[in-house]
Amino acid sequence: MKMAAETKVGEAEWEVKIPEKKLKDRLFFENLKAMVIDTQLCSRCLTCVSICPGGLLVNEEDVVDFPDFEDKCLDCGACVRVCPRYDYKPKSGLGDYIEFTAGQSKRFKGQDGAMGTEFIFSAMDMGLIDRGIFVDRDEQWRTSVFHVRGKEQLEKLPLGGTKYVFADILPELKKAVTFTKKGVGVVGTPCMVSGVRKLQEEFPIFKEKVKLVVGLFCTENYHYAEVSKYLIGKGVDFSKLIKTDIIKGKFVATMTDKEVKFKVAKLDDILPSGCSRCTDFTAVESDVSVGSVGSAAGFSTTVVRTETGKEVWDYIKKMGNAEVGEGKVEELDFLINHKKEREKNIQL
């Protein structure tokens, strides 16, 4: 079944550039561990996990780890090459954009306008990509990553997107890249977007295959075990949960029968260290950023940043897949600044 052109023998040598080691005579992973993980910089975007050739770098309960690395590490340096925080250049603000707007998908229902989903599916309809990577969340908020190839797949499955809980998106993106024929679209948090960009920078195959990166506005993410414990403690019943949001510095969990509200700041107790050092709220490196803040209820704020994003956005408008709303840039300021303040946590 493999149809490959006949090739000449002998042209089979090539060179691969590997990065400098900051700690000489140590394995690359040790470098990574020393520079990123141990310094609490790691945002758990899992770019390193996704690229690790042995598949040995793993995502433990709350930290990226490589058990037995002395024996098993291949020392190829891939993790260091792709880590967005190895040479951390914090990004913040709203970033460049072509269009700041808001939208509400007519085809999908989700929190707010479901524009993340809409972007992926419109890109799929355009033929730009053949799959999107989403996060699926069960009633208990446990996440699993989901490759979506068609609209029907969403029927029995409310794709809530990543909601304050880490999800292993990028390892799945790697798999998707090996399987895809046209391209992949991915929805992720700002740190993941940075990871994807780093992957694309380093490896042409990602450049070629990852076509659309939708970033989400992100204040922070939590570890599943901790956040669920915390929320249950606050009286949130996951079986009745409809929607959660952060409105004006307050965490609001809407359930069928009641609402639970408390100050976001209270969640700082369980705030992961990586997020406390993250300054990017709007995913400035993405093709399109989407979030609920900055637009009317039921709409998603949409920040179209690149040509690809623009193309898809135009397509959405052309096909009438979404209601176009109005985005208010100033509403974002509070959270952008809130995150920017975290710069002080970074000690390089």
């Binding site: 079944m1 493999k2 989901f146 029995k156």
Partner: protein, 786 residues
């Protein structure tokens, strides 16, 4: 425990003053209580039949445990069967011996990681193991000889290997162990109505008609392939759609009931494949009606048995497999195919089976440790009565007693039960009701198939029915070829036809061999197995294997068949006549037999359709449906032959119909061989599928894995319908389009469909008629249980 019991048997033979006499007597009178559990039973029959004649060694097959002293465990012991094995062993007087033949009974063979397979050597002490899948009759006789030698005091393995030092040296560096070749798509998309543009004029017309008739009920209607059309409906309107299909479109039977588990989308897809025997142009069309239901622990779904009775057993099966409750089907109380202690809902995707290992690692056992079923606990832990109790159907017995009826439990180990348990209620000599308890040979090939590469499933596809191996193989491969759109070289098509027809002849003579046995007519058995031996000789020369050739591969056949074998095949078509004539004289035309069969077990045309009977048995009831005519494949449309029908619908009609069919098969083989001999030798595998390996088109040797290892089917459901010897065999492969293992494989074998027919046809008959009906349907339990 086992060692001790094994010793005891041998000590038994060797003890006492008269031990030489005792030894000698036991040695030459090893009567096997054939534990005919599965495929290897076919070869046991061959060893007992005139081809090899085990009786030469004093080994006379007998089905009764008390009077025999030797168990031959033929193949798979499932969890359900395990207990029967133990019971039979306990019933047997000492000294007793056990041989296990076939790989399934040793380390599980091809079913090594099945959820329902266990090891006989954990249940009873075993003396000898004979490898093979299935074993050859020679191997079986070698096992008997080995026991004889053992009784004489020479307990040895009959093969001695010479150990040769492996080359050493070379730089010692750590090698990486390759990972599994299985390529599993992450969160695969399972879509069974993938649109395919095909040149099928009637399809568009049918689609239009369906759209009109089902106005407002369906969600979408898609043509998925030639003769395949899929209707998507919501769960609420599903019943209405089915009702209309049945009433207005005259779709009168269900070919397949299938559930597909999609855990990551939290849904089950429930599909019914329906078709029609009453409308001619709908005959080849399979209409799939499906819906998606939420995945819960025990989701409910309305049963369609009120519309299509033929869905009944398959619905029960799906209840076993997935836990989907079909409301309205009365069989939802307990398990049907599975044993009480088989893992619950084994076909759900979250039930994982053991993964393959490709290297020997220190400390890792060769096979997964399978515990013997829980109902064979250590004897000390339970009382003896508990320990050997089979399910007693107390309610049935109670009810029968009230009505002055008698209940007999027949099987699973019974000379005439064929490893299926029947609970027969009779009033006097008249059968009131028969309750089937199948699944004693259920090996879960559907689960195994979704854990193996497409190419690895070829042997698996054959295993349910090795008496008709080629047609089973062909059915599976055709489903793959349909999906890939591969065009098979002409020569290979002819070869396949020849082999398929030989296989059909073989299967017929298998059934015609078992039938006489059920009637107590051993000559009929011997005569038909002699003819079968000829067929197997041809198959072994063509393929190298007697019963399980796995010879048909996607795009062609494994290698070209030499001319001398073709000549032999041509001779066979005339040579068969002589022995067939004698067989007819002594058995088929025997007036005693005729009187046993005439007007016995009658299924009318309506009943046959209602209960979903397939194949020659359906035709015997007057339905003109033969896949080879209705939707011709291979070269059937190029050859001159006739399909058979009848209208009596009784046992006699079924037998004579099949006899005529065999004559037609011989006719096909004759024409096909003549045609092949005109053709140039060579290309028998499609070059399109070979890709870079075009040179291998005459013989795949060397490149099977390279070519087929990463075979990936396009997304969608690929259904093939093939006319096997006992009827329509349906393979439905659901592919996610990315993995090189199927997402789900559904196999509907003819015997599974015919099971209902046996029950219905035997009701109201005489007790002895039950076996006539049973045998006239050619029921082969491994095929039904899969």
């Amino acid at each position: 425990m086992e060692e001790e019991e094994k010793d005891r048997n041998i000590r038994n033979v060797h003890s006492g003053i008269l031990s030489p006499l005792r030894r000698w007597g036991t040695k030459w009178s090893l009567w096997p209580c054939h534990f005919l559990t599965s495929c290897c039973g076919v070869e046991l029959a061959h060893a007992g039949a005139c081809g090899f004649d085990m009786e030469r060694l004093g080994t006379l097959n007998m089905g009764i445990s008390r009077q025999t002293n030797f168990i031959i465990v033929e193949g798979t012991i499932t969890r359900k069967m395990a207990r029967a094995l133990r019971i039979v062993w306990e019933q047997m007087p000492e000294p007793r011996f056990v041989n296990v033949i076939g790989a399934c009974g040793q380390r599980g063979g091809i079913f090594w990681n099945s959820y329902n397979v266990t090891y006989p050597w954990k249940i009873v002490p075993v003396d000898f193991f004979i490898p093979g899948c299935p074993i050859t009759p020679e191997g079986l006789i070698r096992g008997v000889r080995a026991i004889q030698e053992k009784i004489d005091g020479k307990d040895i393995t009959t093969i001695k290997f010479k150990k040769v030092e492996l080359p050493s040296g070379g730089e010692l560096e750590e090698r990486m162990v390759p990972t599994t070749p299985k390529l599993l798509a992450p969160t695969p998309e399972v879509k069974i109505d993938v649109k395919k543009s095909v040149d099928w004029a009637f399809g568009n017309e049918l689609k239009g008609r369906l759209k009109r008739e089902l106005e407002g009920l369906y969600e979408s209607i898609t043509i998925t392939d030639t003769n395949r059309i899929a209707i998507r409906a919501t769960q609420e309107k599903f019943m209405d759609v089915a009702q209309r299909l049945s009433d207005i479109m005259k779709m009168d039977h269900v070919k397949n009931v299938n559930v597909i588990d999609v855990p990551h989308e939290r849904k089950y897809i429930v599909e019914y494949m329906v078709s029609s025997y009453s409308v001619d142009e709908l005959m080849p069309v399979i209409t799939t009606v499906f819906t998606e239901i939420r995945r819960e622990a025990e989701p409910e779904f309305p049963s369609l048995t009120s519309l299509w009775e033929s869905a009944n057993y398959s619905e029960r099966e799906m209840h076993d497999f997935f836990g989907v409750r079909f409301e309205g089907n009365e069989g939802m109380k307990g398990k049907f195919l599975l044993a009480p202690d088989t893992p619950e809902t084994p076909l759900r995707k979250d039930f994982k089976i053991e993964e393959e290992r490709y290297v020997i690692e220190e400390g890792v056992p060769l096979t997964p440790p399978i515990d013997p079923p829980q109902y064979i606990p250590h004897p000390s832990s339970v009382s003896e009565e508990e320990y050997l109790k089979m399910p007693a159907y107390e309610d049935v017995v109670e009810e029968a007693e009230k009505n002055d009826e008698f209940v007999a439990f027949i099987g699973p180990h019974h000379a005439g039960s064929g490893h299926l348990r029947w609970v027969m209620r009779m009033k006097g000599d008249v059968i009131v009701d028969v309750i089937p308890d199948p699944g004693y040979v259920h090996r879960g090939i559907e689960k195994l198939a979704e854990n193996r590469l497409y190419i690895q499933n070829i042997p698996l596809a054959e295993r349910p029915n090795i008496t008709d191996c080629i047609n089973m193989n062909l059915g599976y491969v055709r489903a793959i070829e349909d999906a890939l759109g591969t065009e098979v070289p002409e020569r290979a098509k002819y070869m396949r036809t020849i082999m398929a027809e030989l296989s059909r002849i073989g299967a017929f003579f298998y059934d015609m061999g078992i039938f006489p046995l059920f009637m107590g007519h051993s000559s009929g058995f011997m005569y038909s197995f002699a003819i079968r031996e000829m067929v197997l000789e041809l198959i072994v020369r063509m393929t190298g294997s007697r019963c399980t050739p796995s010879f048909i591969i996607p795009g062609g056949i494994r290698r070209d068949i030499p001319d001398d074998v073709l000549d032999l095949t041509r001779n066979f078509t005339t040579a068969i006549n002589k022995r067939l004539k004698k067989f007819e004289n002594i058995f088929v035309n025997n007036p005693v037999l005729i009187s046993r069969m005439k007007d016995v077990g009658v299924l009318t045309r309506e009943e046959a359709i209602k209960f979903g009977i397939v194949g020659p048995f359906l035709r015997a009831s007057g339905v003109e449906y033969d896949v080879r005519k209705v939707a011709p494949y291979e070269v059937y449309d190029k050859l001159d032959w006739e399909a058979t029908t009848g209208d009596a619908g009784d046992c006699l009609g079924r037998i004579f119909g099949r006899l005529e069919e065999i004559k037609q098969s011989v006719r096909i083989v004759k024409q096909a061989v003549d045609a092949v001999r005109e053709m140039p030798r060579g290309n028998v595998i499609s070059e399109e599928i070979l890709g870079d390996y075009k040179e291998a088109s005459g013989d795949i040797k060397g490149y099977l894995y390279n070519v087929y290892g990463n075979l990936v089917l396009p997304k969608g459901e690929w259904t093939s319908v093939t006319e096997s010897a006992r009827g329509t065999v349906l393979y439905s492969i659901i592919s996610d389009g990315e993995s090189n293992v199927p997402y789900r494989v559904r196999v509907i074998t003819p015997c599974w469909m015919n099971l209902r027919g046996i029950i219905e046809a035997s009701k109201g008959g005489r007790v002895a008629d039950f076996w006539t009906v049973y045998a006239s349907f050619g029921y082969f339990p491994p095929e039904a249980d899969r």
